[in-house]
């Protein structure tokens, strides 16, 4: 039976846990927003995959130990997610002009969350190992 390293498992759980907590927005407010703006329902990004994506990204952070801060690592994920969501909208035929700003917007939002929440949690739980700078 596979025995994952404790740090890897913690890294995944920190990322998945924070992203899962953020899902209160889509699950709690989306219905109300769609009531106000019927057109908003036309775009449906797979937000429910965020915990898996964030968990794996934080696991990758632990494994690779890239030469950048955890905030920038999160911003990189935001850029990638923004590009992928744009491609998804194009494929579904639901693309709109403002979606071009998604990579920039997600980069700064993810930067803040990863720097203020994920980084300190990683450090406090020993996910970062000997690295202390966040």
């Amino acid at each position: 039976m596979a025995r994952p390293r404790r740090r890897d498992l913690l890294a995944y759980l920190v990322g998945a846990g924070v992203a899962g907590t953020l899902l209160i927005g889509p699950y709690g407010l989306r219905v109300a927003v769609i009531e106000v703006i019927p057109g908003a329902a036309a775009v449906q990004p797979p937000f429910f995959l965020l915990p898996i994506l964030w968990g794996l990204w934080n696991l990758l952070w632990t494994r690779r130990q890239p030469a950048m801060s955890v905030g920038r690592w999160g911003a990189l994920l935001g850029v990638l997610a923004g590009v992928v969501v744009n491609l998804l909208f194009v494929a579904e035929g639901g693309w709109f002009r403002a979606a071009m700003l998604l990579p920039l917007f997600l980069a700064v939002v993810y930067y803040l969350i990863w720097r203020v929440v994920i980084g300190p949690l990683n450090e406090a739980l020993g996910v970062d190992g000997e690295r202390t700078a966040v």
């Binding site: 889509p26 917007f105 700064v108 803040l112 300190p120």
Partner: protein, 70 residues
């Protein structure tokens, strides 16, 4: 009765209150020390860009839905 009294006197009564024992086991090592980063110009710039983006887009709510944040 005298024997029973001797046995009772020989063994200490069980500890009913478990909290002191639990606290002693946990100790300070089990506490997590969260060190939040200082709020600097990078964070202020990121917040400004995020808010500015929401101000620029024609339909902020739809934009947030597209982000997966709503």
């Amino acid at each position: 009765m005298r024997t029973l009294g001797l046995i009772r006197a020989a063994t200490p009564p069980p500890v009913r209150d478990l909290w002191p024992r639990l606290r002693a086991r946990l100790g300070d090592d089990e506490r997590v020390h969260l060190r939040l980063p200082a709020f600097g110009w990078r964070e202020a710039s990121a917040i400004a860009v995020a808010l500015g983006t929401l101000a620029v887009v024609p339909d902020p709510l739809r934009f947030l839905v597209a982000c997966g944040l709503l």
